[in-house]
């Protein structure tokens, strides 16, 4: 948990409204674990006021990578930054994915919907390093929503794409693609990040197959550090169900603990 006010944007890659930032931020990079996130300042002034949460797309001792889609004014301002500019970033934050269920030699399914792919790249790298076999399912409405497909393949990961409109790969929801593959190969664990409806559907599927699963949740975040109680999601707890801060106890939760709206 470092505030790096002088993180240097080393490299920018873009596909339409999707952007990949490579950032020099050693203190954050060194500590980062897959599934954790950072809070990025988007403006120097008061509008927009708050930092924006972004998943850690990759990390090493020199810094981190981010991958985001322009969703509104904050990400739009961010997208106009150029290599060499400085960023103000807090991280790494939250609790990431548990790598244990994907032990050596075992298969893990990683399902990413749209920008939800962001943390899965880092996760896939970590799983590979641990000797597990990640299979990435990458879905979007159309071809423009899955810009990372080449990058994932070049990194040597097994990738299966889906598009709702059938413009590329499997035609249909990424959840359907995962279900189809489950009939062939049963993984040791399923990890996912994406829109709520997708994860909710996947939670039902993994529960049906009795598979352990972990999902990375999203919410509007005021602080990212557990102080505002703004980012809650309904979570099953031993002491009873309740609103749990996802920035602190999450954003990743085991599938069976998440209560979907």
């Amino acid at each position: 948990m470092t505030i790096d006010r002088n993180a240097r944007l080393r490299e920018v890659q873009s596909w339409g409204d999707h952007f990949r930032f490579v950032i020099d931020a050693p203190a954050i990079g060194r500590d980062a674990r897959p599934g954790q996130f950072v809070m990025v300042k988007v403006s120097e002034g008061s509008a927009p006021l708050l930092r924006r949460p972004l998943g850690i797309h990759d990390a090493d001792a020199t810094g981190i990578e981010l991958f985001f889609r322009v969703a509104g004014r904050g990400t739009e301002i961010l997208s106009r930054k150029r290599a060499g500019e400085r960023l103000d970033i807090i991280g790494p934050l939250g609790r990431g994915f548990t790598l244990a269920p994907a032990a050596k030699g075992r298969t893990a399914y990683l399902a990413g919907g749209g920008r939800g792919i962001a943390p899965l790249y880092f996760l896939a790298r970590a799983l590979t390093a641990a000797g597990a076999k990640p299979v990435i399912f990458y879905g979007g409405r159309g071809l423009a929503d899955i810009p990372l497909r080449d990058r994932l393949e070049k990194a040597g990961f097994e990738v299966q794409c889906s598009t709702d409109d059938g413009s590329f790969g499997f035609a249909g929801f990424v959840t359907a693609l995962v279900e189809k593959e489950l009939a062939r190969v049963k993984p040791a664990v399923v990890y996912a990040c994406g829109p709520d409806p997708m994860m909710k559907a996947l939670a039902a599927i993994t529960a049906k197959h009795g598979l352990p699963a972990e999902f990375s949740l999203e919410s509007i975040m005021g602080c990212g550090i557990g102080a505002c109680w703004g980012c809650v999601h309904r979570i099953r707890n031993e002491g009873g169900d309740g609103w749990v801060k996802i920035c602190e106890e999450g954003p990743v939760f085991p599938g069976e603990r998440i209560l979907w709206p």
Binding site: M1, I3, K41, S46, A47, P48, L49, L50, R51, I90, S219, I220, M221, G222, C223, I225, G226, A227, C228, W229, G230, C231, V232, H233, G242, W243
Partner: protein
Amino acid sequence: MAVTPKPVDLTTDLGFLKLRNPVLTASGTFGYGLEFEPYLDLDKLGGIVVKGLYDKAREGNPPPRLVETPSGLINAIGLQGVGVESFAAKILPKLRQLKTAVIVNVCGADDDEYAAVVEFLDKQEGIAAYELNISCPNVKKEGACPALSPRTTFDLVKRIKAASRRPLITKLSPNVTSIVEIAQAAEEAGTDAVALINTVLAMAIDLETRRPKLGNVYGGLSGPAIKPIALRMVHQVASRLKVPVIGMGGIMTGADALEFLVAGAAAVEVGTASFVDPDAAVRIVDEMERWCAAHGVAAVRDVVGTLKTA
């Protein structure tokens, strides 16, 4: 700035409480304090006002609980949090170790609950004062909070002041016609200080879904957007009250904080700024100190109430 730093006296005397400096963290925006340990030295703060405490733990409102607005933030957390017992058992022992004054923001769904919270806390050590959050929706009065009328304010403050062994700061709501009347009611009832402003009642709508952007429909507006309103109210109140005024609302920088002092506040609280920069409160202390040094102000208290209006 090439200024040779002269030592600036930042100590602040509220009469009932001496602070290292005039910067406190505002209730609900600084968790229970400990969340911020990785980002700043808690000992460098004038004081920590912890998140509002009810007698029992509370569920809070359904999400979404936050929405950003132009230069502002609306929250409808619904005062979720641990109850007073859990606070005393798990958090207070750690806060007690700090050199910083710990102030507890006291909440209640009716006057009895406020009293119960204070009764319980009175038995604990390591609390410097209570901040009475009179803006809590009252369950018995259709959600109306005591802060909205001089009468209910007076009654609650009187009762809590009489019941408590500690100094009492009454935290006022801006959602009133005359903030001065309410402040005077609190003063007459014996409060040792007033703190203002709490958030401004507000709402936001999602046009596409035609739904409120907050699960609770309405919420409280904070941040730079409300600073001009806060500053006006602090100025109105400070010139009319004998007890000290603690000012807040949209303070993001040392200059903002000093403006509140100029308007008459003896100390300030930093709220939403801590979400944007977890170390904001300490940066603000530093900025105030540097400003004083650069302007030849020997003690920050010399700035208080120096607004020239003629």
